[in-house]
């Protein structure tokens, strides 16, 4: 059974009188532990597909299952709960809260879910150490480099053991050295910890690291390259 199952999903935006289909009739299966990259030109619908898969918004049509539960029928509360418990996010612009310290940023999903402060911060601390940020725990995001911020964002994305991590251009705002380091961190999480990763990118070297590469154009899946067949694909 797939971890994520996208079944004939469309997402239409209304801009004035005209309806723009950002995603049209897309179907996609992501297996547990799989690393799937979505590539395509700007405006092809990558981000929209990620938003729909990431429980940020509901599709206009079609069905989505995450780990066996329907997402497309959930109300806002349900979506929030799914995001909080089952999903992790990494973005191009890091999206850390500037007023919180690094450790607090990482622990945020646990704290919002009602976790005890001590245990939450404990877990965050060990993840920060794993991401090489042990010496930066009490710094504010503005005091960190882009690479450090993105590593903190990755730590935040995984601190609560999500079923799926969604990453939108995670290396897009970094120099190549830092970008490589981030990619390496993500790949290691995928290989060593079995983290399921759905990632949108422009960068060929990032796509090259994926198990499968989904090519999108004009809101549709153009083709899917399978780089490394995943054992659990059915």
């Amino acid at each position: 059974m797939s971890l994520l199952s996208v079944d004939h999903v469309s997402r239409t935006y209304h801009a004035g009188d005209t309806a723009v289909a950002a995603v049209s009739d897309v179907s996609l299966e992501v297996a547990r532990g799989e690393f799937v990259a979505i590539v395509g030109p700007s405006g092809c619908g990558k981000s929209t597909l990620l938003h729909v898969c990431g429980a940020m918004e509901r599709p206009s049509a079609g069905r989505i299952w995450l780990d066996g539960s329907r997402l497309d029928t959930l109300a806002d509360d349900g979506l929030t709960r799914v995001r909080r418990e089952r999903l992790g996010f990494v973005f191009q612009f890091f999206n850390l809260l500037p007023t919180l310290s690094l450790i607090e940023n990482i622990a945020l999903p646990l704290l919002l879910a009602g976790g005890a402060r001590a245990t939450s911060l404990g877990r965050a601390r060990s993840w920060a150490a794993e991401m090489g940020l042990a010496h930066r725990l009490d710094h504010r995001p503005t005091q960190l480099s882009g690479g450090e911020m993105q590593r903190a964002a990755i730590a935040r994305a995984v601190v609560h053991d999500p079923a799926l991590v969604i990453a939108d251009e995670p290396t897009g705002n970094l120099d190549s050295a830092n970008g490589a380091r981030i990619l390496d961190a993500l790949v290691r999480l995928n290989r060593d910890r079995g983290l399921t990763l759905l990632l949108a990118t422009h960068a060929a070297e990032v796509a090259a690291a994926a198990d499968r590469v989904v090519h999108m154009r004009d809101g549709r899946i153009d083709r899917i390259d399978v780089r490394r067949p995943h054992g659990e694909i059915t």
Partner: protein, 869 residues
């Protein structure tokens, strides 16, 4: 200009909430200032207008001491005629009894209608409509002591008509019930006055009588209130005033009619000055709002300013843009504030006129028409002050480097040195405040006291950033753990925005400080008055006439009333109190007489000096000695043992000051002499009130009810028991200060609006952060809670700062401003209950102020805020 259009106006138009709040803030501030100005003008304007219209063409008036001019002395004044037309006048207030439950105050002018025309213009309409004027009507007016002439306006308002002279049936009611003192009589309306000359005074509440009739009706046989003189050669006014003054016998004085207006103005000056000063607090808070708005606008738009600068916009254009924003907001605010102010003024007049009438026995009129001057003042005050308020952030905008556009906005750079400078300024303000509090009054007004208060306010405002930073550090750890992650997030986001928040917090703290200060001041005053009332009011019953102006010398008790009360079986003794308004060192003070023996027996005075007050009082009996109120002592620098010149009908006479006593009934200053002494100098005068002592065992309520049942049908009077009079004193007290609370409440509303506005701005700027929060799992409830906690924290912090500054302010109010304005010693007293209530209300209000921003924040959809492409 085009740049201003798209860069500023579009944004002002787009951010309706923020714009609306700012405009509302300025509008309220301007409105309050305007309202108080109009209300003050109405109190004086009503008096001045009535004075002017009633004075007519009077150039000079001859006045006596408190009791008017004795007719015997008048007979010797025929030489006045060589200067021009001379007209003796009886002027008094009466109650027109329109129905058993409805009365209206009217001004009664009694003149010699044969000789008064050169001084005042009258046009009479006799009989119904177009009836031929007849000699009988005029003779009736001249000869029948129950004749009155009322104004057309008054007649129309109450459906009254003039009595037809030929004895035919009147087309309506042609009689008018007038109560003068405690006696109510029916008068015949002989004619109507057209709406010109004195008839225009007081909205038509004007009654004309012949002087003989007025003298009898007011029980002032043997004297007139003054003599109006119209000079044949008005250009020789100065010469005439000097020459007449030199020739008048001792005890009579000549003055210009405007002098009475000036004296009333002086009498009200302190009261009005205090109101005006308070009204400016609301404006100040509104201006904080302008600063706040422009400052956030600049901070939020650094990138755009950078782009403008990069594209070659000069600094001064950027400066002009943001000053323009302030001006636009202020203009809108003023525009809205002017009509609002006029509306508020009606409410304020209702409040203040009661006070003015109760405490100063002066008349307030309706709200004066809004003039261009008022509008110009509102704009002339609002606009420049708004520009000054916006100057600092606009200058900061002008300093933004073009690099900002390239680098992206950086926040809160160079905060530390700025904060240090503010802190230093704050400390300096407080030091200056302490120094200013030591200075004496200026022209009888506590100018330095208010300067001291203003410096405390500015000091507080300047210290807010430092206080917030310190507070954030102290509370950063576990202190707010009980509020959970939302509390932590709220604290974190507020801490990150201290610089922006400082202004809102300062505004709210200033308002709260004023509230606390005024609450403490009034609370202290109230406690003091309660104590004083308990000490002073010792009689069982108090009898006064129906016109409730306790110190108005005009309303006297008739002999029949006095005899009826003295004759009651349960009455043990009656003390007759007489009060007069006299001019002492160019100010109107109150001269009273009471039975010192009775006062001694009942311990009804609380002495400030000397140590043995009762002994001093006892020694004053039988001599030309007086006791003076504390306010008189402070205002005129009069001390025990001094000899001061007290005006008497025979001219000023030296009196020994035996003691100073506490008095909170009036700030005009009171001189009291023993009744025997008074009789010796002033002759036997009708009392203005009676204190009645009952036989032991008599029930005051029962006696009161019995006397009322016996006397009310024939007299218009009030009888208070000791208990009800105490309640009445406190009721008047509370009514007096109601407007103070009203003003403060408005200032707080403005400040709470400011908090809302600030939160809205913060939220708009934090869209991405809020989106992130939503994304990583914050549900809507958590977002809302966070924002509401932020609002509550702002409220709490402002509260704490306001409380501290408020206590400091209250010390200045009680020990400096109050003493210099009114000359009252007030015992410091914390109205703990009220303060706790107020704090709770403000905390709830600010928390509620977070409700709208919270809803706004919850409305963001995470996907929209995160999208980067």
């Amino acid at each position: 200009m085009a740049l201003f259009g798209w860069f500023i106006l579009r944004r002002v138009a787009q951010e309706r909430m923020r714009t609306g709040l700012t405009v509302a803030g300025i509008a309220l501030g301007v409105a309050v200032v305007l309202a108080i100005r109009l209300a003050n003008a109405s109190a004086l304007g009503g008096f001045a207008a009535a004075l002017d219209t009633v004075a007519g063409k009077t150039s000079l008036e001859i006045i006596g001491t408190g009791l008017g001019v004795d007719e015997q002395r008048l007979a010797q004044l025929t030489w006045l005629r060589t200067w021009g037309d001379v007209s003796p006048v009886i002027e008094g207030d009466a109650l027109a009894v329109l129905s058993p439950n409805r009365t209206e105050a009217v001004r009664v002018l009694g003149v010699d209608i044969l000789r008064d025309q050169p001084i005042r213009e009258y046009r009479l309409d006799v009989g119904a409509g177009a009836r031929q004027p007849t000699a009988q009507a005029f003779l009736g007016l001249l000869l029948d002591p129950s004749s009155v002439v009322i104004t057309e306006v008054f007649a129309r308002r109450h459906g009254l008509v003039a009595e037809p002279a030929d004895g035919s049936e009147a087309g309506g009611r042609s009689t008018l019930q007038l109560a003068m003192g405690d006696v109510s009589r029916t008068f015949r309306i002989r004619a109507l006055l057209r709406n010109q000359g004195p008839a225009r005074a007081l909205d038509g509440n004007f009654v004309l009588m012949d002087i003989a009739a007025a003298q009898w009706a007011f029980d002032r046989l043997g004297r007139v209130d003054r003599v109006d003189v119209r000079l044949a050669e008005p250009s020789r006014l100065d010469e005439a005033e000097k020459a007449i003054g030199a020739r008048l016998p001792r005890g009579l004085n000549v003055q210009r009619p405007a002098r009475r207006g000036q004296q009333v103005e002086q009498m009200l000056a302190a009261f009005q000055f205090n109101l005006a000063a308070l009204s400016y607090v609301a404006l100040l808070v509104g201006l904080f709002q302008v600063y706040n708005t422009v400052a956030t606008s600049v901070i939020a738009r650094r990138d755009e300013i950078g782009v403008l600068r990069a594209l070659g916009t000069p600094r001064r254009t950027v400066l002009a843009l943001f000053l323009g924003e302030a001006a636009a907001l202020a203009a809108l605010g003023c525009l809205a504030g002017i009509p609002l102010g006029w509306g508020l003024a009606r409410g304020a007049v209702a409040f203040t006129s009661a006070t003015v009438t109760t405490l100063y026995a002066a008349h307030a009129a309706g709200v004066p028409a809004l003039t261009w001057i008022d509008a110009a003042l509102a704009v002339g005050l609002g606009l420049p002050l708004a520009l000054i308020a916006a100057a600092a952030p606009a200058l900061e905008a002008a300093r933004v480097s073009p690099l900002c556009a390239v680098r992206g906005g950086t926040d809160d750079t160079g905060e530390t040195p700025v904060r240090k400078r503010w802190t230093a300024a704050g400390v300096a303000c407080l030091a200056a405040s302490a120094a200013s509090a030591q200075a004496g009054p200026l022209h009888g007004l506590p100018v330095f006291g208010f300067l001291s208060a203003v410096l405390i306010v500015f000091g507080l405002a300047a210290l807010v950033p430092a206080a917030l930073t310190g507070l954030a550090r102290v509370t950063g750890g576990r202190a707010l753990g009980w509020l959970g992650i939302e509390g932590r997030l709220a604290h974190a986001s507020l801490t990150g925005a201290i610089r922006r928040l400082s202004v809102s917090v300062a505004a709210l703290a200033v308002s709260l400080a004023m509230l606390v200060a005024i609450a403490v001041m009034i609370g202290s005053f109230r406690e003091t008055v309660i104590y004083w009332v308990a000490q002073t009011l010792r009689a069982d019953l108090y009898v006064a006439t129906a016109r409730r102006s306790n110190l108005d010398a005009q309303a006297t008790i008739s002999p029949s009333l006095e005899q009826a009360i003295a004759a009651d079986a349960d009455v043990d003794g009656v003390d007759r109190f007489r009060a007069l308004s006299v001019t002492f060192r160019d100010r109107l003070i109150v001269l009273g007489s009471g039975d010192f023996r009775v006062l001694l027996d009942h311990g009804a005075l609380v002495f400030k000096a000397p140590a043995d007050g009762p002994g001093a009082l006892a020694s004053a009996i039988g001599r030309d000695a007086i006791v003076v109120s504390e306010s008189l002592s402070l205002r005129f620098g009069v001390r025990v043992g001094d000899h001061i010149e007290v005006p008497t009908p025979a001219g000023p006479r030296p009196f020994h000051v035996a003691a100073v006593y506490y008095d909170y009934s009036t700030d005009r200053g009171v001189v009291v002499m023993d009744r025997a002494t008074f009789l010796r100098h002033f002759g036997d005068q009708r009392p203005t009130s009676l204190s009645v002592y009952l036989r032991s065992g008599a029930d005051a309520e029962v006696v009161r009810a019995r006397l009322m049942a016996q006397l009310a049908p024939t007299h218009r009077l009030f009888i208070h028991t000791n208990t009800t009079l105490r309640a009445e004193v406190l009721r008047i007290f509370d009514a007096t200060f109601a407007i103070t609370y009203g003003l403060e409440a408005i200032a707080i509303v403005v400040a709470v609006l400011g908090v809302t506005g600030t939160l809205v701005t913060l939220i708009l700027e934090r869209r991405r952060e809020l989106g992130t929060l939503r994304l990583v799992g914050a549900d809507l409830g958590q977002i809302r809670r966070m924002i509401v906690i932020e609002a509550g924290m702002l409220g709490a912090v402002s509260q704490a700062l306001g409380m501290a500054a408020g206590l400091a302010l209250s010390v200045v109010l009680i020990y400096v401003i109050n003493v210099q304005s009114f000359g009252w010693t007030i015992q410091f007293h914390m109205p703990v209950g009220f303060l706790l209530q107020a704090m709770a209300v403000v905390l709830v209000a600010t928390t509620l102020a977070g409700a709208y921003p919270a809803r706004l924040a919850a409305g963001f959809r995470p996907a929209d805020e995160i999208s980067t492409e």
